[in-house]
C-alpha cells in the first residue's frame, strides 16, 4: 500500500480492473490475443514507429528502392532488433527515472554536454521539419494542382493548433488513428506487383555491392531509421504515459510493435518503388516525385495511396519533431514541460514547439532546396546519433540512476551495435565526401 494513501476497502473500479486482468491471464492461447494486447498497450512506441517514417524518410526509402531495387531490404530486417533495443532503452529510461532524456543528460553529464546535444538536435529537427513540410505540400500540389507554397502555412497552423492546444491523450489518440494511414503503403506495394520470390531471395541472400550508390543508400537508410529526435520523444512519451516499471512488458510490446510496423512500412515503400521505378530505370529525389512516377507504372491507385501516406506521415512526424525539440530544450534549461500541461502553464516548452514549427516554415518557403534540407538533416542526425547512443547506454547502465532496472545485456549489445554501425556509416559518408 502506498505510504500516504488512506487505508480502507477496495473500490469497485479497482476490483473490476483486477478481475479483468485475471480473466485475461486464464484465457487459452489464441492468435488474436497478442494483437488485442498490442492494441491495448498501444502508445508512445507505436507512435514512434509511425513518426520514424516521416516524409523525409519516405523520400529516402523511395529513392533507395528506385536506385537499388530490393537489394537493400535486408538492412531494414537487420535494423529491427537494433531499433527495438535503442527505443526500448529510451523507454526504460523514461519509465524508471520519470525524467526526460535532456534532464538526465544535464544531471549526469553537465550543462555543456546537454547544450551541445540539444543544439545539434534543434538544428537537425528544424531542417527535417522544413523538408517534411515541403514533402507534404508537394504531394498536395500533385493531388490538387495548386502551388505547393500555398499549403505550407495552413498545414503548420493545423498541426500547431493540435499540438499546442490539445492534451497528450487526445494527441496520442489522433496519432494512433493517423498511423493507420501507413497501411496505404502496404496496398501500394501489393499494387506494384513485385516478384515476391525475388524480394524474399534478396532479403535472405543480400546482393551487397561496394559502389557509391549502394553504400550511400545504406548510410541514408540507417540514418533515417535510427534518429535522435525519436530517443527524446520515446523517453518523454513513456513519462507522460505514466506506465510504471511493472508495466515494462507492455512498454516493450508497444515498442516492438512500433518498430516492426515502422520497418514493415519502409519495406513496402522500397518494394513499391523497387518493383516499378527501379525496373524502369527511373530515379527519384522526393517522395512526391515517387508518387507521381508510380502513376504510369503501377496505376493511379498506387500513386494516390502513396500520396495519402506521405500526408499522414507528415501529420504524425512534424508535431513529434517539434515536441521533441521542446522536450530537449526544456529539459536542458529546467523549464516546465509536457503535453499534459496547458500552453500557459509551460510557456517555454510550448514556445519552443511554436518557434521550431515557424523555423521549419521559414526554411520551407525560403526557396532552400528541400533535397538539400533533407540531406543536411540526415547528415546532422547521423552525426548526432552515435554519441547520443553512447550517452543513452551509459545512462541506462548507471546503477545509481536505474537501480534494479539497468539495461539488460541484449539491450546493451543492441544499442552498442547501433552506435557502431551508425559510426561506421558516418565514416563511410565522410570517406565518400572526401573522395
Amino acid at each position: 500500500m502506498h505510504p500516504n494513501a488512506p487505508s480502507g476497502t477496495r473500490l469497485p473500479w479497482l476490483s473490476r480492473t483486477k478481475v479483468t486482468v485475471k480473466k485475461a491471464e486464464s484465457l487459452p492461447e489464441d492468435p488474436g490475443r497478442t494483437l488485442r494486447r498490442v492494441v491495448r498497450v498501444a502508445g508512445p512506441g507505436i507512435i514512434t514507429g509511425g513518426a520514424d517514417n516521416d516524409p523525409a524518410g519516405i523520400t529516402t526509402y523511395s529513392s533507395v528502392g528506385a536506385s537499388s531495387g530490393f537489394s537493400q531490404l535486408w538492412l531494414l530486417v537487420l535494423s529491427i532488433p537494433l531499433l527495438i533495443a535503442v527505443q526500448g532503452v529510451a523507454a526504460r529510461l523514461g519509465a524508471v527515472t520519470k525524467l526526460g532524456l535532456a534532464e538526465l543528460i544535464r544531471n549526469e553529464f553537465g550543462m555543456t554536454v546537454a547544450l551541445a546535444a540539444g543544439s545539434l538536435l534543434v538544428v537537425a529537427n528544424i531542417a527535417t521539419i522544413g523538408a517534411d513540410l515541403v514533402g507534404m505540400a508537394a504531394v498536395l500540389q500533385l493531388l490538387t494542382g495548386v502551388k505547393l507554397i500555398l499549403f505550407i502555412v495552413p498545414l503548420v497552423v493545423v498541426m500547431g493548433y493540435v499540438t499546442i492546444f490539445q492534451n497528450f491523450k487526445t494527441i496520442q489518440r489522433l496519432f494512433l488513428w493517423l498511423i493507420a494511414v501507413f497501411l496505404t503503403y502496404v496496398a501500394a506495394g501489393i499494387l506494384a506487383h513485385p516478384h515476391w520470390g525475388s524480394v524474399l531471395l534478396q532479403i535472405v541472400v543480400p546482393p551487397i555491392r561496394l559502389n557509391l550508390t549502394y553504400v550511400s543508400g545504406a548510410v541514408a537508410l540507417l540514418g533515417t531509421t535510427i534518429t535522435p529526435y525519436l530517443f527524446f520523444w520515446q523517453t518523454a512519451g513513456e513519462r507522460e504515459e505514466r506506465r510504471g516499471v511493472e508495466q515494462m512488458g507492455d512498454t516493450y510490446l508497444d515498442v516492438t510493435a512500433g518498430m516492426l510496423m515502422s520497418n514493415l512500412v519502409a519495406g513496402f515503400i522500397m518494394i513499391s518503388t523497387g518493383a516499378t521505378l527501379f525496373a524502369h530505370h527511373q530515379s527519384v529525389n522526393t517522395a512526391a516525385q515517387a508518387a507521381h512516377a508510380l502513376r504510369p507504372v503501377a496505376g493511379p491507385a498506387a500513386s494516390v495511396l502513396f500520396s495519402i501516406g506521405i500526408l499522414g506521415s507528415g501529420f504524425v512526424a512534424i508535431p513529434i519533431l517539434a515536441v521533441s525539440t521542446g522536450y530537449a530544450l526544456s529539459g536542458t534549461f529546467g523549464w516546465r514541460m509536457g503535453l499534459g500541461r496547458q500552453a500557459f502553464a509551460a510557456p517555454g516548452f510550448y514556445s519552443v514547439i511554436a518557434l521550431s514549427l515557424l523555423a521549419g516554415v521559414q526554411l520551407a518557403i525560403s526557396g532552400f532546396s528541400p533535397i538539400k534540407a533533407l540531406l543536411y538533416s540526415q547528415i546532422l542526425n547521423g552525426i548526432v546519433a552515435p554519441p547520443l547512443l553512447v550517452v543513452i547506454i551509459l545512462l541506462a547502465t548507471r546503477s545509481r540512476l536505474m537501480g534494479a532496472y539497468v539495461a539488460t545485456v541484449w539491450e546493451r549489445a543492441g544499442v552498442i551495435a547501433a552506435a557502431a554501425i551508425m559510426g561506421l556509416a558516418d565514416l563511410a559518408l565522410l570517406y565518400n565526401a572526401v573522395r
Binding site: 494513501a5 488512506p6 477496495r10 479497482l14 524508471v96 520519470k98 544531471n107 505514466r242
Partner: protein, 189 residues
C-alpha cells in the same frame, strides 16, 4: 440523451455556478470551483487515470481557463512501486515553499514532502532510500555535499504514477536540480 451530452451539460452547469455534485459518468463527488480564469477541481476519485480524465474534460469544457487539479486519489494501484523524488534548492526557505506547492498537487493525500538542511539527518535518510531503491549508498553523497554547502534538499517518496506529477510541480519552483531514485522493487502497491 447521450453520455457525452449529459457530461457537457454537467460541466456547463459546474462552470457557471460552483458545483458540488456527482460526475454523471464516473459518479465521483466532485467540487468545481471557478475563480476568475482559474478552475479548481477538488474531491475524490478512484484512480490517477480518472483524475486525469476529469482534468481533460475540464480543459475541454473551459479551454481558456487554467485548470488546477486538486483531486485526491483514494484507491491503491497495486502495480505501482514507491519512488523517491529529490530536489535541491538554494536555501531551506525556497525548499519549504516548494514543499507546500507540491503537497497541493498530490493525488494520494496531501502529506508535505520532507525538507533537509542538516548533513547528518540528510545522509541517514538518503542511505535509507538508497537501500530501498537498491542503488549504491554512496552514490547520493553529492547531494550531502550540496547540503554541506548551504543547499536544502526536498525529498518526496510517492507512488510511481504520482512521481511524474510531483516532478511536474517541482519544475515550476526554484529547484536547481530534480532527480529521482529508481522505483523500490520491494514496495509494490
Amino acid at each position: 440523451m447521450s453520455a457525452g451530452h449529459t457530461m457537457r451539460e454537467w460541466w456547463t452547469k459546474a462552470l457557471l455556478q460552483e458545483s458540488h455534485s456527482a460526475h454523471p459518468v464516473l459518479g465521483n463527488d466532485l467540487y468545481v470551483k471557478v475563480d476568475g480564469q482559474v478552475v479548481t477541481l477538488e474531491g475524490t476519485v478512484e484512480s490517477a487515470d480518472q483524475a486525469e480524465e476529469i482534468e481533460a474534460e475540464a480543459r475541454a469544457a473551459a479551454p481558456q481557463h487554467e485548470i488546477v487539479n486538486r483531486l485526491t486519489v483514494v484507491g491503491n494501484d497495486e502495480t505501482q512501486h514507491n519512488q523517491a523524488v529529490l530536489a535541491l534548492f538554494g536555501n531551506a526557505d525556497e525548499a519549504r515553499v516548494a514543499a507546500q506547492t507540491v503537497s497541493a498537487w498530490k493525488w494520494h493525500g496531501d502529506r508535505v514532502p520532507e525538507v533537509h538542511k542538516g548533513v547528518r539527518e540528510a545522509r541517514r535518510r538518503l542511505r535509507e532510500l538508497a537501500e530501498s531503491a537498491r542503488v549504491p549508498s554512496d552514490s547520493l553523497e553529492d547531494l550531502v555535499d550540496a547540503i554541506r554547502n548551504g543547499k536544502a534538499l526536498l525529498i518526496d517518496r510517492v507512488p510511481e504514477d504520482e512521481a511524474v506529477r510531483i516532478i511536474s510541480s517541482l519544475e515550476g519552483t526554484r529547484a536547481q536540480c530534480i532527480r529521482t531514485l529508481p522505483p523500490e522493487p520491494d514496495s509494490l502497491g
